[in-house]
Subunit: 445 residues, 2 copies
């Protein structure tokens, strides 16, 4: 993408309404624009990251054997009357009347609707296990939306629902979600720690939240800091292997890590003092096993192997897709701007032309731009007629992990400069070497 | 995807509520489920096609130089008060009050919001031309929703908006959209004819609708049938070349083709009788040039080269993404089910195992399944323990363009069968040859 033809409305001033760094940088980098309290447009740069995060979530859910579909944003109130939550849900539910005066609502979550889909079509244990998920816009009418996309009203969420014939199978689905979430967050460059949590309005007793450590987090967290060193890495997971999946969960949940809701000071105090940490965390996902709460209320049953009919065992599992942009920025920035992890960056690399209009420099930039494209990498090429300082400031603000700088002086020596956004380290090399290096960094992503 | 692990709830009976073939087949093939009048869940098979269509739309918009972003589904009423449309729009607009009693609405279209984004960030002719688009859920509270996704209330639409400094540039943007739409529809296997249309509530005098000929279409259309033979094909378009783009538009709009709204019998009668046709069409897109209607009302101006300030010239351009599934099925089916064009099929090919449980047959199917995957093709493998007739009926209903049938008798002779859904023609060949043939069919898609 050539910046001269892009729409990247960066702001020079810090917006007064932004209280936390992710909100400030998302506004300044031209990623979002507020349209109403807690409701945002995703400008082109923000939309690219959102799509990238969505894609990673899809890939890891599909890898775990979960099946994507898409439920609508609006739901009939009657479904929620069946579960009893229509009256319970309170003012966060956006209630709507259509032109025929029918009660509708903008879905804050989808347990009722997915249970309705299940009961309409599935009748036998032979069709289980089944996990269905979607990534769709939700609405929660927060009384005081704030912190940008971290606590918006209209937000994008992945929510998945497992259907299983018995408790053991449902717990395996729970574990499968935990492992797939660990991989999802790692691919985004995040350390998200599963912490035992309280269940809230969804119901159920087994539940973990995934928290990213950050000073601006909404939850107080208590943990053994050895938990932050655990990595799933590239290990090969067979999601059908119950023992293997359970062992990974065991590995990631044995060390103490809890939110204030489930914190137990007596247990916490047994951690060696050097590892005992109190901090704050941003919730980026949550998994629940709640058994038959919805299936019983809504009549979602299956015939088992012995011919009896039982309510199906369920759980629900969510990732805050739009909120993740905020969480990633909270966890990865400096005082110049965002530092995108390679997994989610809007563009893999930027090209800065130090002397736009100079024939040789323009030609070298074009040639690098095309060489990257030939390797499947779309660079953001700053081809504007601007001074170098402004170009560097924009690149630092929007946070592309790598930058290739091209100027007449370097070209005279056959060199361009490759700069790492995170470390600030620069290295001179030939244009071909810079292209190859960037391609190697992104190989396999 | 192995069918035994998929969620494909096909129906044996014709659903009573479905009056047209696309609605009937989408229900029977387990693609959609109605959740309220005109509001559907997209079950896994339907969601795959929806995503595929969305992807083609994105690719062709980006090829034309248009920039994706994403606006929210809910909008503040105040924006629509600025344009005067809040009161004009009538009962099709779903009006909502939030918990603070603020007037909101579920966007039926986005002229106001995109103009708001533009005026907040663009000030100079130097930032033009600019075309922004998104693919987002919309809501129109139709009094009688029907025909499935063809006339739903919650529907997915691509809507794009061009911003240009003068009329000539805006007309070029109009033409660019026409050409990009022609390519979009052709990639989906559709012949969509641009027809001069009336503008309706969007405003403006230049507008074309794109219509797919089908007996179930909502519009009466009058055309010279030579227009159906025009093809854009693989020609190389430079979207910055005004003359080239205008010439393509000329080629596709010179022959008579109009809806009843703009039909002129005197001109129509001059077409040679053999080519004069009256039929019905399904609207799958519309482009508008409306000039300064919104920019004047909302104060979206730019400074021109001579320093004066003018309201920006605009147009808006839409593709009915979710409705396209219905249109494609109306245009491509037989009495056994859907016939997907290769460009949008949910799976490129199906594998039917005629003797599930037979070691050699199972192994041959697995090997074909993996060989296809290695070539980037995800087959739908019917590995259920079902009789052959039921498997064929399901494959015909869901309409994958190609099917590989594997049975013990054929394998004994080293053969499998490759069948074309459209023609019904089958050919015996080795498994390797079948895989290569399918890969060749999808090469470059």
């Amino acid at each position: 993408m050539r910046l001269s033809r892009y729409f990247l409305p960066v702001l020079k001033e810090n917006p007064a309404e932004a209280q936390i760094v992710s909100h400030r940088y998302m506004l300044r980098a031209g990623m979002i624009k507020q349209q109403a309290a807690g409701i945002y447009s995703w400008l082109p740069l923000g939309f690219r990251v959102l799509r990238r995060i969505e894609e990673i979530v899809h890939q890891e859910q599909i890898r775990a054997g979960h099946i994507p579909l898409l439920m609508p944003t609006l739901q009939p109130a009657d479904l929620w009357r069946e579960s009893g939550r229509y009256d319970d849900y309170g003012q966060e539910m956006l209630r709507i009347k259509d032109r025929h005066d029918r009660d509708m609502l903008y879905g804050p979550t989808n347990e009722e609707m997915i249970t309705d889909i299940f009961r309409a079509h599935v009748n036998s244990y032979k069709d289980l296990p089944l996990t269905l998920y979607h990534i769709q816009w939700k609405f929660r009418d927060e009384v005081r939306p704030r912190f940008g996309v971290m606590r918006g009203r209209e937000f994008l969420m992945k929510d998945g629902y497992n259907f299983d014939v018995d408790r053991d199978a449902a717990l395996h689905a729970y574990n499968r979600h935990m492992v797939s979430y660990l991989r999802t967050y790692e691919r985004m460059g995040l350390t998200a720690i599963p912490m035992r949590a309280a269940s809230g309005p969804i119901g159920g007793d087994n539940t973990h939240e995934f928290l990213v450590l950050a000073q601006t987090g909404e939850s107080e967290v208590f943990y053994d800091d050895r938990v932050t060193g655990l990595k799933l890495g590239q290990r090969d997971i067979d999601y059908d292997d119950r023992a293997q999946v359970a062992a990974v969960c065991e590995e990631f949940t044995t060390l103490y890590a809890r939110t204030d809701e489930t914190h137990d000071p007596a247990v916490f105090d047994q951690i060696p003092e050097a590892h005992r940490k109190v901090g704050r965390g941003i919730e980026v996902g949550q998994i629940f096993y709640f058994g038959t709460k919805y299936s019983e209320a809504m009549g979602a049953t299956v015939v088992t192997a012995d011919g009896s009919r039982v309510p199906v065992e369920m759980g629900s599992h969510g990732i805050g897709v739009s909120r993740l942009l905020g969480a990633i920025i909270e966890a990865s920035h400096d005082d110049k701007g965002i530092i995108w992890p390679e997994g989610v960056t809007p563009f893999p690399v930027g090209i800065v032309n130090l002397k736009q209009g100079d024939g040789a420099t323009d030609a070298a930039c074009e040639s690098i731009y095309k060489a990257l494209a030939a390797k499947g990498l779309e660079a953001l090429y700053d081809d504007r007629d601007e001074r170098a300082g402004a170009k560097f400031a924009t690149m630092d603000l929007i946070g592309l992990p790598w930058r290739i700088t091209v100027g007449p002086r370097g070209l005279a020596a056959g060199k361009v400069e490759l700069t790492c956004r995170r470390t600030g380290a620069s290295e001179e090399m030939s244009a071909e070497a810079a292209v190859d290096r960037v391609a190697a960094i992104y190989a396999g992503r």
